[in-house]
């Protein structure tokens, strides 16, 4: 059986986080009633003219710079012609030969070798308007088509990778890192369910047959609605192509590129009818829109607005906050909001490691249980920082802190009030000392055991101390007992 390599390139469409559409002032909000967010421009009414959205240009340049792309000094708009009912003008305004971003790369974790990275080349990223949505049932007659044009004119950035990906796991890492980067920079929400991130994959196999390289025909896989679906579709498709090659011997020279859809429920790809057979899009420069000049000063200005990338954040969490690579990864991969939350908790508490572990365990668990986001989390970062600061200084032990944490999730109040409500009071060291002295006086055996080398014997007294005074910090009690015994 010949060895083969899977060759994958991804085309990712992300919806830019603009206030309005690419060429008009209509809102791009998701979920509005059909055809409620439209105007003559995005409907392509006769006589209406597009006007470029500067915010979309800025966001595209921002994404391009973060993806290590060149931003050419001039970009222009082209019309891509095809007939489709959800494309009201009969053409899509896109970018053909002068995309706004070109030649970039994205570093991703190498799934085959922990700690290593792979550099995935990017051919280009270009701006284009989205089409509407049509639902139709062509089998049951002409009256069953419904068209919602709300999405028409929504700004998309299409990011096209080189065919540098070698496995579905790499594709998944690429998508994860891309999504993380774009959400970090607030370029896009990247919500796959809402269609603001859509993935098409080009895949084929390079087989090694008796020392000769043979490539299978390229297939474009569409309709994948989650990263998991992308992974599965690519795995399925690689196997299907191999089987197909074994059966037919068909190579890239024998067959043109075809399009297949992904059926998530049946977990297989299926041959898809093309919008147009051998499409000739008849691209030409849109005469209604002038070419856009992007002066270096503008590009520099955008560069200045770029917050740190996830990769830079991971480095910083390790060097500045002393987190392990693993912890830094977990925090950063949760997204910009969690990262910001962490930083605030770490600063206020003065204890980044404790902040990291509490966020990874208690906070993330709570978010999951409550199915909410960090933005809606009931404990503000400063409050959690305050709480963890008290743990660090020994005012609270971990168990009591968890009680406070639970209380703060239910009640919008500060740490002091929570402690009061839970009957937690700060205990001064004199009080602890007299309590410990009394316990030692009552339990001479413990003193003997400790002097005999069994330090853990104090454990029994810690429980008793807690019974007498629930606010006593066990760590502090332990240290006080040992100090008294050892003089």
């Amino acid at each position: 059986m010949p060895q083969y390599e899977t060759i994958i390139g991804l085309e990712v469409h992300v919806q830019l986080k603009t206030d309005s559409k690419l060429f008009c002032g209509c809102s791009t909000r998701f979920g509005a009633p059909p055809n409620s967010q439209v105007c003559p421009v995005c409907l392509g009414m006769p006589g209406a003219l597009p006007v470029m959205n500067r915010q979309a240009i800025t966001l595209a340049v921002k994404a391009g710079l973060a993806l290590n792309c060149n931003i050419p000094p001039m970009t222009k708009w082209d019309r891509k012609q095809y007939f489709y009912p959800d494309l009201p003008k009969g053409y899509q305004i896109s970018q053909y030969d002068l995309p706004i971003c070109a030649d970039g790369f994205l570093d991703i974790d190498d799934p085959a070798s922990e700690g290593d990275t792979r550099r995935i080349g990017l051919i280009r990223a270009h701006l284009e308007e989205d089409a509407g949505k049509s639902q139709h049932d062509e089998t049951s007659g002409r009256n069953d088509s419904r068209i919602d044009l709300n999405r028409c004119g929504t700004p998309l950035l299409e990011i096209v990778s080189q065919p540098d990906l070698r496995s579905s796991a790499e594709a998944k890492n690429y998508l994860t890192e891309l999504k993380l980067l774009l959400t970090h920079l607030e370029v896009s929400d990247c919500e796959m369910q809402e269609g603001s991130l859509r993935v098409d994959a080009n895949i084929n196999l390079h087989l090694d047959v008796d020392g000769k390289k043979i490539a299978t025909p390229i297939v474009e896989v569409k309709n994948m609605n989650s990263f998991r679906a992308v992974e599965r579709a690519l795995d399925y498709e690689a196997e299907r192509q191999y089987a197909h090659w074994e059966e037919t011997g068909q190579t890239i020279k024998d067959a043109p590129k075809t399009t297949r859809g992904w059926d998530d429920s049946r977990e297989q790809t299926f041959a898809q009818r093309e919008k147009e057979e051998s499409a000739d899009y008849r691209y030409f420069p849109d005469p209604d829109l002038l070419p856009v000049r992007l002066p270096q000063s503008f590009i520099d200005q955008v560069r200045d607005t770029i917050q740190e990338t996830p990769a830079q954040a991971r480095d910083r969490l390790q060097t500045q906050h002393g987190l392990s690579a693993y912890d830094a990864d977990v925090i950063v991969n949760q997204g910009a909001a969690i990262l910001g939350y962490f930083e605030s908790v770490a600063d206020v508490s003065g204890d980044p490691k404790r902040a990291s572990s509490w966020i990874q365990q208690d906070v993330l668990r709570t978010l999951k249980e409550q199915e909410t986001s960090i933005e809606q989390f009931p404990i503000p970062a400063k409050r959690l920082g305050d709480l963890l600061g008290r743990v660090r200084s020994g005012d609270l032990d971990n168990n009591r802190a968890r009680d406070v944490f639970a209380y703060l999730i239910e009640n919008d109040t500060d740490v002091d009030s929570a402690c009061t409500a839970l009957g937690i009071e700060a205990v001064d060291s004199g009080e602890i000392e007299s309590l410990c002295q009394k316990l030692l006086d009552d339990n001479p055996q413990v003193v003997q055991d400790v002097r005999g080398g069994k330090q853990q014997a104090v454990g029994r007294l810690i429980g008793q101390a807690k019974k007498v005074n629930p606010n006593a910090n066990p760590q502090q009690v332990r240290e006080t007992l040992l100090k008294l015994i050892n003089g």
Binding site: M45, P46, G47, L49, G90, G141, F284
Partner: protein, 491 residues
């Protein structure tokens, strides 16, 4: 005489006439003459009278009024209006009432003009004779067997017939100037971007421009002043202030002005002797006014028409893609063709039924020229030649302030004469398309009558944004000549 804009404004200001009287006169003239000439596709009598009454009321109350208050104006039927259909003289848009006003319409309304109705045209502005309209041809008021010129033929004829003192047309390759020439009126194609195209149904976006038509340069200046200006909704609109054109034309001293003449252009095949004579006589008038006539060259002028007839159909094929029966306009109810399925059937039948043959011809040419394998040979090459043509003009305007020449090779020809010969029809634009390809302003002014008493126009061209210079020279010419005061049917 109430047939000029300025005369009407004077009569209204002095109280010699009310806006209602003027509007009623206009409506009456339409009722009388239009059955013969078919220049108007929609008459908005009610809203026009309401506007007129409003103007009268506000004038009586001493309130301020716009620059064109009470002046009836007709609009070419490819400029969007919310209270009138906008059909482009096509079956495709026969019932289409846009949900918005074009910028020029908004500006006319703000100027308190009385929008009297929409005018006939070649379908989607494609044609040079006004014969491709779904409403049937418009006839030339000077001779009903002749065409009025296209595609703004209705806008020219409605003035020549005395229905309105002014109108708006659009000019993609000569569609304002050529009918102005044939109908004995003055028509201006402004600099590309000087007047917003927002709301102008696109034929060829990089060439289209809305412009004013009236009897005299003075009236045209008044209209241009109203409709010109920057418009953020049109990316190709020019962000430069609008000069007071009506003031710029008040001198008739042309000393120091150099007028360039293209000698080769005057010896072209197909150029009628009477047109040649009118141009020569116009040169004399300008010389008498103090201008200096100089020879200029536009070396690539022989490529104007071929370049135009690649670029315009390419853009048209794209602009007209939106008429597919899906969202508005004509949708066929023909049976589904089993081979095509319901969707393709709808597209095919709707476009087959909705468009006339000239529109289809240009869509086919454009689709072909843009398709893979032909793009470089046609469209891309045409863009390169277009740059050379612009360069020619830049060089010519180093030597001359204005260019003078024919507007059309002949006077108005007979109906049906060129309808079956597209190439002959396309050659009607021989002298006008250069200005569209270069984006510069150009004006056609009446300059004579031929042996059969049909008007002849001459064309002046100026560098970009020099409309003032054009209007100034045209007004000076009209101060010395009577051609713009000739009327059909009058000696």
């Amino acid at each position: 005489m109430l047939d000029s804009v300025s005369a009407i404004l004077n009569a209204l200001a002095s109280g010699d006439a009310s806006a209602r009287q003027i509007t009623e006169q206009s409506l009456e003239a339409i009722a009388q003459t239009d059955p013969k000439i078919n220049a108007v596709t929609h008459v908005a009598a009610e809203t026009a009278l309401a506007t007129a009454d409003d103007v009268d009321r506000r004038r009586a109350a001493g309130q301020s009024l716009g620059a064109l208050a009470g002046v009836p104006i007709a609009i070419k039927d490819l400029i969007c209006t919310t209270d009138m259909p906008t059909t482009c003289a096509s079956r495709m848009l026969r019932d289409f009432v846009p949900p918005y006003d074009a910028t020029v319409i908004r500006k006319l309304r703000d100027a308190d003009a009385v929008l009297i109705g929409k005018t006939n045209m070649d379908e989607f502005a494609m044609g040079a004779s006004n014969e491709t309209s779904v409403y049937g041809p418009t006839r030339n008021p000077w001779n009903h067997d002749r065409i009025p010129g296209g595609s703004s033929g209705g806008s020219a004829a409605t003035i020549a017939a005395g229905q309105v003192p002014a109108s708006l047309g659009s000019d993609t390759g000569g569609s304002i100037r050529q009918p102005a020439s044939h109908c004995g009126i003055t028509g201006l194609k402004p600099t590309y971007g000087r007047v917003s195209r927002y709301g102008l149904v696109a034929f060829a976006s990089s060439l289209d421009q809305i412009g004013p038509m009236a009897w005299s340069a003075e009236d045209v200046a008044l209209l241009l002043e109203t409709i010109a200006g920057y418009e953020p909704r049109d990316s190709t609109s020019l962000d430069t202030p609008v000069p007071e054109y009506s003031k710029a034309i008040q001198s008739s001293d042309l000393r120091g002005i150099k007028i360039g003449v293209l000698r080769d252009g005057l010896e072209q095949d197909g150029l009628d002797e009477s047109v040649q004579k009118s141009v020569t006589e116009a040169m004399q008038v300008f010389t008498d006014l103090g201008a200096e006539i100089v020879d200029v060259q536009l070396p690539h002028s022989q490529y104007w028409v071929p370049t135009y007839y690649v670029i315009a159909p390419c853009e048209a094929s794209s602009n007209l893609s939106r008429y597919d029966g899906a969202h508005y306009g004509h949708r066929s109810d023909a049976d589904i063709d089993p081979a095509d399925g319901p969707l393709l059937s709808m597209y095919r039948h709707s476009r087959q039924e909705g468009f006339g043959s000239e529109v289809k011809r240009r869509i086919m040419i454009g689709t072909y020229a843009l398709s893979t394998g032909y793009y470089d040979a046609y469209y891309n090459k045409a863009l390169k030649v277009r740059r050379l043509i612009r360069g020619d003009y830049d060089a010519a305007f180093q030597q001359a302030d204005l260019l003078l020449g024919p507007t059309a090779p002949t006077s108005a020809f007979a109906l049906g004469d060129k309808l079956d010969d597209p190439i002959q029809m396309y050659l009607c634009d021989l002298y006008t398309v250069g200005a569209n390809l270069a984006g510069i302003p150009a004006i056609s002014i009446p300059a004579g009558l031929d042996d059969s008493g049909l008007p002849i126009g001459v064309q002046l061209q100026a560098p970009a944004l020099e409309e003032s210079r054009l209007l100034f020279a045209a007004a000076a010419f009209q101060s010395q000549t009577q051609f713009h005061q000739l009327r059909p049917g009058k000696p």
